[in-house]
């Protein structure tokens, strides 16, 4: 796995998280009856994540933010963004094995990700653009839909998806599970590929400005917005 800068969500502890899929719906205009036809030409949309105000109360955290803001190069650098939203994942709050990912701004890629509480392994091949996955699912909590998960692809890197419907299984006791999800797969999934429900993350780039404001030369606040990046070089 390649080395990437990381938005350390667990270190910055942003006050809000808004992860959504941006489409590109074109309206045909309102008809006489007020109906509007829509066409979405985005092919499934792309992720955009807004992190609301982070309180940077420690000099080390302010410096980490500044370093990452400079490394972002106005949005050209691709950054791994973990959502760190464990409450809405099929996991219990505490990690079984400590994971330093999401606590520092750089991941050298030497320690590959491994499942912690959730083991989800693909049981059939899913082609590029597919929106249905078959896998075995072992987890402390059942899947109900609305959970994020990530897949590490060979060419496209980490990509984020969200469960839209649990068609079968999903109880969490090693059962065969079929889900629908969005957005469509960025790259084909092979049998035995792992789905990351523990710490979903996505390869993104900065959108806009993420510079921080430090008040009284001590207390910093900052927010950042990321959009899904393309294929890594």
């Amino acid at each position: 796995m390649a080395a990437f800068f990381v938005f350390p969500t667990r270190l910055f502890k942003p006050s809000s998280l808004q992860a959504r899929l941006l489409g590109a719906a074109i309206s045909g205009g309102a008809s006489l009856t007020g109906d509007t036809q829509l066409a979405d030409i985005s092919g499934g949309g792309r992720w955009a994540v807004d992190f609301g105000a982070s309180d940077l109360l420690d000099p080390a955290i302010v410096k980490a933010w500044r370093a990452l803001a400079a490394a972002a190069d106005n949005g050209v650098t691709q950054i791994l963004v973990p959502l760190a939203d464990r409450l809405h994942q099929p996991v219990t709050p505490t990690l079984t094995t400590p994971d330093p990912f999401g606590l520092s701004i750089y991941d050298d890629g030497l320690t590959p990700w491994g499942p912690d509480q959730v083991t989800a392994t693909a049981t059939s091949i899913a082609a590029l653009g597919e929106t249905e996955l078959h896998f075995t699912f072992t987890a402390p909590r059942a899947l109900v839909g609305g959970e994020h998960f990530s897949i590490l692809h060979a060419a496209w890197g980490w990509r984020l998806h969200i469960v839209t419907r649990v068609k079968s299984g999903g109880v969490g006791s090693g059962d065969a599970t079929v889900i629908d999800f969005r957005p469509p797969l960025r790259e084909a999934v092979a049998i035995d590929d792992l789905l990351n429900f523990d710490s979903p993350r996505c390869l993104m780039r900065l959108d806009g400005d993420m510079s921080e404001v430090v008040e009284l030369q001590r207390f910093g606040t900052a927010s950042a917005r990321f959009v899904e990046a393309g294929k890594p070089a």
């Binding site: 829509l38 929106t131 629908d180």
Partner: protein
Amino acid sequence: MALDWDDVALAQIEGGGVRPAILVRIATDPLIRLWTGAVRDLAIGSDTVETTDGAIYQGMGVLNNVPAVNQLLNGQAERVEFRMSGAAITGEIAAIASTEAADIRGAKVNMGLLVFDSNWQIASPTAWLWEGYADSLSVDRQGDAKSPTRTIKLSVGSLMTGRRRPAIGYWTDTDQRQRSADDTFFDRVRQYSIQTTKVWPV
């Protein structure tokens, strides 16, 4: 060209919420295949235009603009412009832009349309709506220094578009001198027209 769509695709369109994809195929060497989607590639089946089965079309917002195209009916042959993002151009476009522009001149450009079903799976064969021939490639930079926009413009002509000079068709001095530079035979033709001010003495 008839839209070779089946009932499933037509039902999608009639349903109101349509999920179309617009594809552009430029038959240079190597082939350039682009589509309107965000951050993902699209693999389509083969047909009369796209001869490779499972050919990969690149998304990622490379295509900025797809021009409106017309069928030619008693009119002037049209020329349309495709705009592509010039900030992060694909390898194929970069290769062509960096070498001779002659490589792209005359390359066949096809524009197609297909629809997805509600699970974003391809629900129709590709309807290739328009065919043209690539002409010139130019780089365009707009906006101020703070937020400049760089795009690559590809000018594409239809079958009826030519780059020839207009035929020498009038008995005028200009046309005659194009044929023979020192021939003054039509020198005074313009003075025969109505409302010409004659300078006296001539």
